[in-house]
């Protein structure tokens, strides 16, 4: 997944609340992926949606 602000690729194994500085203040844990490069809060897709996104990236990355 690419960060919605800086456009850099967020490592695939980064889960909700992971990253350089998860704040951990939200009840039930953070459901956002904070970009390790710029800190922007990107949505954290669930398992099914993550698969959809990966499929999309695989189709796109044929270079």
């Amino acid at each position: 997944m690419n960060c919605g602000l800086c456009g850099k690729e967020i490592p695939a194994d980064l889960g909700p609340g992971d990253g350089k500085s998860p704040c951990g203040s939200c009840r039930g844990g953070c459901r956002k992926i904070h970009c390790p490069y710029c800190g922007y809060a990107n949505p954290a897709p669930g398992k099914f949606l993550r698969k959809m996104l990966q499929k999309n990236n695989e189709e796109k990355t044929d270079e």
Binding site: G4, L5, E9, C23, G28, A44
Partner: protein, 653 residues
């Protein structure tokens, strides 16, 4: 006796993600590859072998990296490989279409003294976009071999193989920075005595940028006396340049790249898509065209789509039809039939019931509005509009004398105020951190709350415009205050702009659904909890007293006493309060002017409990309570002033 095998010469592939490194790796190595985790990490590194001109080579495909100064674990592994291996050649693979953005890393690799071959891949796409790249000239400028390729069609493969087999390491060019930066680099480089994989110049720059791995390397690489001297020097340089070192290095590298590319890239023909994307990109960051574009986005994206369709059509359908006619009556009947205790009836379907307040607000009022808002938000996000909007805001702020430093927490705050509050710890002084925390608590609603408030106001003609004007004035007030307290000597806001592109449907849908899901999971327990608290207060006969105590304040800003409960909701979350206001407005209890005053007041509240907890964690209980009181007082004061103005002028009457 078995013959001892000589290690094969290594060729390491490095570069940004999605530039075709893996395709090149597969083309070079064929099917004989192994994938294993890099020792001590979960990051995978692929290794393979190939034969070029009669010599066998080991090929290593590293994880994507944007810079040799690592941030993620993947980048750290890629950099570790460069620091530990002794490669015959390092292939830096870049995307020809984004050559200007990717060349700074080439400079870093050359600066590090690594045996670099620059592979300019995806040349066919660049040509299709009208880019002509003079690779010979680029090679001359950089002083390292440059090979153009289209790896998915194996174009350029023989030339690349020849460059690998004939690679002869020669001293690299030195790219000179500004005199003050050069002075500091030289100061450090002359003290470094150890033998490192990276050049002394690159090691010095990494030390100046507080690279922990390199700091560790010098501990083992330098003798005790020299280490102390070097560490003292590094500390001095870092302290002297604490305000803008990273920015200056980035800017100077960008400047050198521009010189390297001077006359190298020619835009020979106009293509159909990219030039328009570039043109649009320029328009969005220019204040004269960017502000009208922003207003168009607000009008069509927020006012028409979120306000008209989300808060109007969808809420009417869900709340007015489905809930009111089909869901609520059977639910209430069922509870009436099976529950005899009044307290339980009240708890489930009463005025502040878990169903009638908590679930109805979350599902029927808030979700359709934030759903449409998130759809628009994700659509804009996928085009690459947001970094340009940040740049535009920064430019507008500078034009009116505001510091660029205030932009960073604001931009992050629109994503998540709680996280942005934590980011304020990176500011230099306590005073700056407190001001930035106030700015976030007061004037920056997070995207979801913004969506609900905008959706609520869009249904009332004129309300959104007045709200926007009021918020801009508050922005300017707090912004000028911030500029006075946090005067930045240099424009601190710096960001590489990713290319603008057409949004991809699947990306937009996934992001929208993910946001809706996480938002719903976040607010539903909170809405239910708030309903429970309100119900408890009502049962204990405390709520009336509380509403009575707050009602003079609510009346003072021109609102009916019924609006007090919405403000009590607002203490839990601003969007919960906004949903309460929506309910009042649809029941005809609020005039357009009252709705606008209430929305402005509510927007200026502390956004949510999570942010308050973060404020407490970052600034301490005393400061965070003071901020809370200050923000609440200011919110009501602004509401009072706006009410007086609306009454005097007759606006929204």
């Amino acid at each position: 006796m078995a013959e001892q095998q000589q290690p094969l010469p290594k060729v390491v592939l490095v570069g940004n993600p999605n530039v075709g490194k893996s395709v090149l790796f597969n083309v070079l190595t064929g099917a004989y590859t192994t994938v294993s985790n890099y020792p001590g990490t979960s990051v995978e590194v692929s290794r393979g072998q190939c034969e070029i001109a009669g010599t066998d080579y080991e090929i290593l495909d590293t994880p994507g990296m944007y810079s040799i100064m690592p941030i993620t674990e993947e980048e750290r592994v890629a950099r570790q490989i460069l620091l530990q291996e002794t490669p015959h050649a390092v292939l830096h693979v870049i995307d020809a279409r984004n050559i200007e953005r990717m060349l700074p890393m080439t400079l870093q690799l050359i600066e590090a003294g690594l045996p670099i071959i620059l592979v300019v891949n995806i040349l066919d796409e660049a040509k299709r976009l009208g880019m002509e790249i003079d690779l010979q000239k680029l090679q001359k400028n950089l002083g390292v071999p440059v090979i153009g390729t289209v790896m998915k069609r194996r174009q350029g493969l023989p030339e690349l193989q020849q460059a690998i087999s004939e690679y002869a390491s020669v001293p690299h060019k030195t790219f000179t920075y500004g005199s003050d930066l050069e002075r500091d680099v030289t100061r450090l480089a002359t003290v470094i005595k150890g033998d490192y994989r990276f050049s002394k110049r690159a090691t010095s720059l990494l030390l100046m940028q507080k690279d922990e791995d390199v700091e560790q390397l010098i501990v083992t690489g330098e003798n005790t006396e020299n280490l102390e001297l070097l560490q003292t020097l590094v500390r001095d340089v870092i302290f002297e340049r604490r305000a803008d070192l990273h920015l200056q290095i980035s800017m100077e590298r960008k400047k050198i790249c521009k010189q390297m590319l001077d006359g190298v890239v020619q835009q020979t023909e106009l293509s159909e898509k990219e030039p328009f994307a570039e043109l649009l990109s320029r328009w969005t960051v220019n204040p004269w065209s960017g502000v009208p574009i922003l207003l168009l986005v607000v009008y069509f994206g927020l006012y028409k789509f979120v306000g008209g369709f989300g808060a109007g059509t969808l809420v009417d359908l869900l709340e007015g039809n489905i809930f009111e006619e089909y869901i609520n009556p059977p639910v209430i009947n069922f509870v009436q039939q099976h529950v005899s205790a009044e307290w339980l009836f009240e708890l489930l379907v009463g005025e502040y019931g878990l169903w009638t307040l908590g679930i109805r607000y979350a599902v029927a009022l808030v979700l359709p509005i934030v759903g449409t808002f998130f759809l628009m938000f994700s659509l804009l996000e996928d085009t690459g509009y947001f970094p340009r909007l940040a740049l535009l805001v920064d430019r507008v702020f500078k034009k009116i004398g505001l510091s660029g430093r205030a932009v960073i927490p604001m931009v992050l705050g629109f994503g998540c105020d709680t996280m942005a509050t934590m980011v304020t710890r990176t500011l230099e002084t306590v005073r700056e951190r407190i001001i930035a925390t106030i700015l976030l608590a007061l004037a920056i609603p997070c995207s979801a709350q913004l969506g609900v408030i905008l959706g609520l106001l869009s249904g009332v003609p004129g309300a959104l415009a007045v709200w926007l004007l009021a918020m801009i004035l508050v922005f300017l007030l707090v912004g000028l205050l911030a500029a006075k307290v946090m005067p930045g000597e240099h424009p601190i806001f710096y960001m590489e702009l990713p290319p603008m592109r057409l949004p991809q449907l699947r990306n937009v849908l996934v992001k929208t659904l993910s946001r809706m899901q996480s938002y719903f999971m976040e607010i539903l327990p909170l809405f239910l909890f708030a309903s429970f608290i309100l119900w408890s207060l009502k049962m204990l006969n405390v709520l009336e007293g509380l509403i009575g105590a707050l009602s003079p304040v609510v009346r003072a800003i021109g609102l009916p006493v019924e609006a007090t409960s919405a403000f009590v909701f607002g203490f839990f979350r601003r969007d919960f309060g906004a949903a309460g206001l929506y309910d009042l407005q649809t029941n005809g209890l609020l005039t357009p002017a009252q709705l606008t005053v209430a929305a402005v007041t509510l927007t200026l509240f502390v956004p949510c409990i999570a942010q308050f907890l973060m404020m407490k964690k970052e600034r301490g209980l005393r400061v965070s309570v003071s901020i809370f009181v200050f923000v609440s007082l200011l919110a009501f004061s602004c509401g009072w002033v706006l009410n007086k103005i609306l009454l005097t002028t007759g606006l929204l009457a």
